[in-house]
Amino acid sequence: MRLTKILLLPLLTLAFISCDNNETAKIEAPSTYEFTRNGESSVSFTGQTTRIQMASELTSAMMDFDNTTEELLLEMYRNETAEGGDADPFQNEDLNEATKNIKGKVAASTDYFSSNTQLSAEIKNEFEGWLSAQVQDVFPNENTQAAPGQPGQIADGSSARYVNGKGFEYNQLVGKSLIGALMADQMLNNYLSTAVLDAGTNREDNSNGTLADGANYTDMEHKWDEAYGYLFGNADNPANPAIGEGNGFLNTYLGRVDADEDFAGIGQETFDAFILGRAAIEAGAYDIRDEQAQIIRENISTVIAVRAVYYLQSGKNALDQATPDYGAAFHDLSEAYGFLYSLKFSRVPNSDSPYLGMQEIDEMLAQLEAGQGLWDVEPSTLDEISETIAAQFEFTVSQAAN
């Protein structure tokens, strides 16, 4: 009986593969993310481009000691005033014109948060706490040497880093955590979710070519594009982006991981999956669409995990020497904190869950913050967290660390 099962498995696999191949062969995927209808582009993700640019201005403003106020940072995060009125906090006028904001899409995916609004609110507010603390705790200590319990500046090579009393850079916490809480969450757990792609009459409309009101796309096409936009929406040429270009958000780190030979090709594979998935939607091949979504979920989750381990290990190496390089370590570990935080929003393919439980991640974050924080974190703790992360993925700590 068992033997039969084992023998059957490869046969089944073969059968599936041949099915896939036939179906895939029918779909003509272009080499770039360009799709048209009636001679005009049917691709649209302006809201995603806008939010990436807002996040970029927000993290820059966090380091503008001379001009930034707490009020300004919160307005940039919400794109409205504390009273809910219209705000113009951005340098880029287009962003002020936009009705979008960052906060509304933080921890806001259908799959993870539609019935989990309490947690969603906690996460949204955690970002506000970091923004406020930057102005309240770090700004007044701009010209103070950082020490355990004392916010201030610390040397990292020839540059100065500005940290809180536990050694964390709030700008890194915000920037790197947004990669998960905003971008990956919206992409993996919202727009690539069947609950969103197939919502309402989306399938029927898509199969019949019924367009969204006043638009040149079907709703399903647009949802897929919006997932794409969180990765490549701020590239110079979003239809044919360079893997790795960008200003410190998801595509930047897709590029970093792709440049590690242990993960070479992950960038192109992700790009290709987006293209094939979009082409599959046009062809009404929803199984192929969903297979591509799983590839993207796995790859984007892997990118976040690899960077978390990479920075944990860099930080450990900086601390674990005769003369610990605290400045370099704090910078690395602040980034690690953000990527670890972002792992809460990862997605195991063909499942409803992140690679590590949110509670488990919170416990690891608490280990980094315990006591004097990064001033007295043990290298062995950093190794343990690294191993815990890697164990959930198909890579080793050493593959991620180089």
Binding site: N143, Q145, Q153, D156, S158, A160, G248, R256
Partner: protein, 369 residues
């Protein structure tokens, strides 16, 4: 997996080349302490001694100028600054022990200097030069700005120290900078002469934390980042695409950049060969260690390859304008070809030499974010 396969192949090939496995001279048998003694007693301590003499003179000249800001005293002060800057090229690579703790090099030679912050310090006062954010507002590059960059000619420069409404602040800032440079020099020297020398010499084993491994790493790091990239590559636009004349060392001076580069290259060559500071005597150093191990590369003697390559770089640089800023603006290709010659020795030392000496590189290129 690919890595592992490649490694196995490499091992097999290396094994094949040496014929009978690891039977030649063993790095462990070499007297490393003899090198450490030569470095400490005949190069490092004399170089720091000389450097601290020049910073002492620099501070004295600055005080004289501050109390009597004449053109004659300005010229004298510039000479003292040049001497100290040249002497600095012989100690900059030794960023270990107290120097590492103090972040000696970052406090003395970050360029380009941050002139807007320097001006702010002068007008507002209340600066703390020990803060990392003040690195680029002090040291030799900041002094370069104060002595050469405040005006088109000496009369204009002098006006900042005499008739300007902030003249008093200019004089105070100047002597604060020279005092700090002198203090840093003395602190590092005292550390070497009060115990660190013995610690350095006795830590003569091998392994990542041994003196030799750390010193060789510091040396190659210095050569790669501060000499090759800082003095030549960055101004030539190797990393940015187009030349950056404002990133030349001693930018405001008239043609000191080439002299500083030559001095630094000489110091690097001397260190490799164990040449005593200010004496044409060769002691034990990396060249002897490589010779002991009969290190060959592509059928040639590695010591000879490295020294020949140093000579090539030196002679290529001979034709450069004394002012590197002028060089990159008029004929950058010559600057680039100097860079290429310097780069060849990065490979010889960082790859071939470290492999022969069984030393691991302990630094990686920064992530850049």
């Amino acid at each position: 997996m690919k890595k592992l396969t490649a490694l196995l192949f490499t091992v097999l090939i290396v094994w094949g080349c040496t014929g009978n496995g690891p039977s030649g001279p063993d790095p462990d048998d070499f007297d490393r302490e003899a090198i450490l003694v030569n470095w400490a007693d005949n190069i490092i301590v004399p170089a720091f001694t000389h450097f601290s003499e020049t910073t002492d003179q620099l501070h004295t000249s600055a005080q004289e100028f501050a109390s009597n800001p004449t053109e004659q005293n300005l010229v004298k002060l510039r000479t003292s600054w040049e001497n100290a800057y040249l002497a600095f090229q012989h100690v900059s690579m030794f960023e270990m022990g107290e120097a590492m703790q103090l972040r000696f090099r970052d406090n003395l030679n970050i360029y380009p200097s941050d002139t807007s912050n320097i001006n702010e310090n002068i007008t507002e006062g209340g600066y703390n030069l020990e803060l990392p954010s003040q690195n680029s507002s002090q040291g030799f590059p900041a002094l370069d700005y104060l002595l050469n960059g405040l005006g088109e000619n000496d009369a204009e420069i002098l006006a900042s120290y005499t008739t300007d409404s902030n003249a008093e602040n200019y004089r105070v800032y100047l002597t604060d900078l020279t005092e700090r440079a002198d203090n840093l020099a003395n602190q590092v020297l005292e550390n070497w002469t009060n115990g660190y020398r013995d610690e350095f010499v006795s830590n003569s084993g091998n392994g990542a934390n041994s003196s030799l491994d750390m010193m060789v790493n510091d040396y190659i790091y210095y050569y790669e980042k501060h000499l090759r990239a800082g003095k030549v590559g960055i101004p030539a636009g190797v990393f940015s695409g187009s030349p950056l004349s404002s990133h030349v060392e001693a930018y405001y001076s008239e043609g000191l950049s080439k002299a500083l580069f030559n001095e630094a290259l000489t110091a690097s060559i001397n260190f490799f060969n164990g040449t005593h500071f200010d004496a044409e005597v060769n002691g034990q150093s990396l060249d002897d260690y490589l010779d002991y191990l009969n290190t060959m590369k592509d059928g040639a003697d590695l010591t000879m390859l490295i020294n020949d390559q140093f000579q090539t770089a030196q002679s290529r640089a001979e034709n450069l304008d004394p002012d590197f800023a002028a060089q990159v603006e008029t004929d950058n290709s010559l600057m680039l070809s100097t860079y290429d010659e310097l780069q060849r020795n990065v490979v010889n030392m960082k790859v071939d030499m470290l492999q022969a000496l069984s030393i691991n590189v302990d630094y990686v290129d920064a992530d850049g974010d």
